[in-house]
Symmetry: C2
Subunit: 398 residues, 2 copies
Amino acid sequence: MIQFAQRMEHLRPSEIREMLKVTEDEAIISLAGGNPAPELFPVSAMAATTQAVLEEAGGQALQYSTTEGFAPLRAQIAERMNRKFKTAFAARNILITNGSQQGLDLSGKVFLNEGDAVLCEKPMYLAAINAFRVFRPRFVEVPTDSEGMITAELERLLATTDRLKLVYVVPDFQNPTGISWSAERRRQFMDAVSRYDIAVIEDNPYGELRYEGELLPSLKSMDRKGQVICFGTFSKTFCPGLRVGWVAAEESILEKYILVKQSADLHTSSLSQRTISKFLDSYDFDANVEIIKATYKKRRDIMLRCMAKEFPAEIRYTQPHGGLFIWVELPSCLNARDILTVCLEHQVAFVPGGAFFPNGGMENTMRLNFSNMTEERIAEGIRRLGKVLRQMLNPAAH
Amino acid sequence: MIQFAQRMEHLRPSEIREMLKVTEDEAIISLAGGNPAPELFPVSAMAATTQAVLEEAGGQALQYSTTEGFAPLRAQIAERMNRKFKTAFAARNILITNGSQQGLDLSGKVFLNEGDAVLCEKPMYLAAINAFRVFRPRFVEVPTDSEGMITAELERLLATTDRLKLVYVVPDFQNPTGISWSAERRRQFMDAVSRYDIAVIEDNPYGELRYEGELLPSLKSMDRKGQVICFGTFSKTFCPGLRVGWVAAEESILEKYILVKQSADLHTSSLSQRTISKFLDSYDFDANVEIIKATYKKRRDIMLRCMAKEFPAEIRYTQPHGGLFIWVELPSCLNARDILTVCLEHQVAFVPGGAFFPNGGMENTMRLNFSNMTEERIAEGIRRLGKVLRQMLNPAAH
């Protein structure tokens, strides 16, 4: 028997992934994935843009390129971040990655020795758990409420956690909860972490997808000691299939990311990078984001309206102001995995929430996605889900 | 000060990479890189193919896709490998990666605990050293000659190396030496490794670029216990900028690679994968490979002819039957790094060979690339290099 590394004993196939296999069947209404709506991708503009890139750049668009990424795209991303999130990045602060998922893997390499601690939100993004777990850290979960991390808990855990190396947060429309941190909590968070020499990852795939309320200050805009590392991606504001994201950080940190990116895969697709850069130059990117927002807002509204009507009153859920997800907390007697089994019989799927807790527990939670289904399908999905929930909560009545 | 992981102390920027920065200056004749010739990339066919993919697949070509890769492409790769290298792969044995470089990173994750041993050729591919080094293994170098690994040394090191987990070899037109293993050595190698429960990576980016002689059996074609893992790539037979390569292995091994690929970056670009798949369907891929071979053969021939004329007689070098590189061994009194310094004053660059030895030494070696320069530039580059070498070997005469 060939021997694998010890870390492989701790890695399990992602629950979402196994989900998605079942939901390839079109008959199933899937509120499980986190996919954007493909009907909103600018397909013909992309075809024209790729054509133009290949005509203008020729073979260079298909050649090896530098690990850091295509220089004009790095500058465009820096400019866009500064405009949207009040950061102060230059092109040299940007590393192009294969989606922001790769930023997670690179962060594990750059920061984590086995047994180091990662401070994270409770619950946290599932694929971040899997990416960090490769490096075998301890996960220290900071309790959260509807305004974000609870500051007193954060301060206590910062002061008492041994070998703390990294803080990972998604302050805007978090996956899985949809919660956006309040301005006050953001300030308190930055006050607290700035007392420590630790790196903070501000992962922000959904920040531009705000359906109501005012933009809140990014953590990076309040970062006085250069400890915040920003992740960004075109996956939710443009399209995910090109796998183009980025890491933005102070140069002394970014140079470490560049080193591990180089050994991981040399660089991100030259053609993808040039195509996105050209698209940003040639089309109104923000106008496309507005179309996405208008569509998702309607889908969120119908999902929330149907949940209000169909879900038993004792079930609590978030009312997100943006992003792709609604988070549901069931009475503690219920297990979402059991509910999923029944739901699949009724041709509706979601992600059981337990997977978003790196240290286990909270099996009475679930994540619902509203970006990737028509309004009709969302309404029908929630109707079926509500029916199952009513049955599970009151079996005698059925 | 923010603390990085211990592994970061062992990672250094790649020498080739630092080289390439100098050689961005067009005035310099660079025999340093390993880039294919961009004038041979099928640029207009690629534009037409991308167009067709986006027309036919629409938004799905820009959507998230499965970690394993685009199913038709996996089948095409399996079929092609079976035809070219007498393997017996099915689509389910293929994982699409971001170039075969990513296969190296994933292999480190799948197999290496800190302190485990990797058995490798002496010298070995530089970027493999960097990829594995992230996981902090010991490198055990097997001496090689013009026919490949020396069998007696291989057998001795297999028997005596503690915690041996992985063997990494490039039997066809190796980077950096250009050497292709003889049929006898391949059989002896497989006999030897099959006595141990260890994984063997057969990395084969150059196998199709043979300019003379008969195709030799792949290691995988002689693998009776399923221990050989094959890496392949479109970077040298098509174009590298799309970053599409693959890992081919028994399913029980491949499932581990899929797990770590998922946490590394979810999947490889959907559009790149579909475009290559469509290109394979629509064009004569092999005819394009023949054009590449004809061009590189001429470049190799002129480089060897010029070396015979310009290099001092005491300098030894390989006469590769394929691939992209010639390996030079200088008298041990010379240091290739010093020679490079002088060469850069004469506007010619190469890669000092010391970097290809993970445990150091052999600074009297150099790697020359012949794929990415016109015949005229190659001749001029070798003339300049020869002049420097003659000066260094006989300074009194100048």
